[in-house]
Symmetry: C2
Subunit: 228 residues, 2 copies
């Protein structure tokens, strides 16, 4: 389970206070596929950053499988982010000086996977997202949607228990977007990967177990798929 | 008019040749709203870069109002890119060390607009895209969709004759995306701005005069809206 309890995040700019998150409570069940929707600026990325233990909340707590992430030391946090959670960033954050193949093998090498096995798995997942003929391209030799797919492939590389996907289909056409959604649903259904997806893409609704709506840093509504 | 005639772009990687554009012919009429759709990797951004005179084609020519852009000197090209064309980049390319306000005023200052007038216009256009309360935020203090809207506002700042919008609604929710499409349609209808939009967003189809489909670096089909 991934649980956010009473999570708030306030940014300070001079005298101004910006409540990016305002009292968020949500429990994501193990193996669930949950989509988070809401207007631009409503707090989806900030919630992901808090859940993924990348930033500290101003108030409240995050529990991952009942462990309070605020109690983890640097090594434990690093393990969490490297092995347990796969993060697909909204701006991709792929390494500009590395090829697609290097970008995807890197987290596996950090996790101690032997180099040749890491390369085989990287080639397989890159092929799976339609980049089989682009593995030696660096980001500037890739289109926007291809860069996005490198970020997606990289997140799945270490077979994490939890995927945080921040708008993973934003730069993809309908068909390619459906392929990616299909891949994530398959990971979820066949391997029990918990998928948390921030998205503006209404195609995502049909395959989500639950849908969360956010607005102004708050959760307004959570619904089961069949209620929607 | 914006005309691409026999435009090809071939990238070389070692011995490999990648035909990003392969014999593209299209004439965009003055004041038209034209959408370009196609799979990720099909050549939309590359076509924009050639049309916007940011890269040279391997073969073929681009004519903007009957002027061959290959014949322009550095000053003329700079003027074209600063005053005539407004480019909304797929990756935004906004300046990270500047606020939203500074990012939007910058092209106006380059164009010789007095600083106070530039500021007034910047505030107005930022308010129009829903960022009125974010004008002093730098990119890292903005959400993905907010950064995209800074890029949009910046492109309109100098009241260009032609807007090249590369997936301008990719990171926007339905409502915000509709507001932006509405803004661009209004610029087109009321001010005669020629809008060329690369998009995966099917909401864009209803307001386009024509739609171009690309695949593998080629134009497969061009249709009028009512044929679609
Ligand atoms: N470092 C910061 N300082 C000040 N305000 C910030 C900062 N980071 C984010 N914000 C604000 O917090 C709010 C939430 O941002 P967040 O990135 O979580 O939104 P989002 O839901 O992911 O939006 P989008 O759909 O556009 O990606 C936004 O209004 C943003 O301007
Ligand atoms: N510098 C480069 N070197 C080699 N190949 C490149 C380079 N730049 C682009 N490409 C390739 O050219 C093709 C077209 O790229 P382009 O960015 O125009 O696609 P696109 O239609 O904009 O895709 P998307 O919808 O994903 O943004 C892609 O297959 C890409 O891998
Ligand atoms: Mg976001
Ligand atoms: Mg593109």
């Amino acid at each position: 389970t991934v649980m956010a309890r009473g999570v708030s995040k306030i940014y300070h700019m001079g005298d101004e206070e910006i409540p990016a998150l305002d009292g968020v409570d949500v429990t994501i069940r193990t193996g669930e596929y949950i989509s988070i929707m809401g207007p631009s600026g409503s707090g989806k990325t900030t919630l992901f950053n808090v859940i993924g233990a990348l930033i500290k909340p101003t108030e409240g707590s995050v529990f991952i499988d009942e462990i309070d992430v605020a109690q983890l030391d640097a090594n434990e946090l690093a393990w969490l982010r490297c092995r347990k959670i796969g993060y697909i960033f909204q701006a991709y954050n792929i390494v500009k000086v590395m090829t697609a193949l290097e970008n995807v093998t890197l987290p596996m090498l950090f996790a101690g996977v032997p180099a040749d096995e890491a390369q085989d798995r990287a080639v397989e997942i890159l092929d799976r997202v339609g980049l089989g003929d682009r593995i030696l391209h660096t980001p500037k030799e890739l289109s926007g949607g291809q860069q996005q797919r490198v970020a997606i492939a990289r997140a799945f590389a270490n077979r994490p228990a939890i995927i945080l996907a921040d708008e993973p289909t934003a730069n993809l056409d309908l068909k390619t977007g459906e392929d990616i959604i299909h891949l994530m649903k398959e990971m979820n259904a066949e391997r029990g990967v918990t998928v948390v997806c921030a998205t503006h893409d209404h195609k995502m609704l049909d395959i989500s177990d639950r849908i969360v709506w956010m607005e102004d840093g708050q959760i307004k509504k959570i619904a089961d798929r069949d209620e929607v």
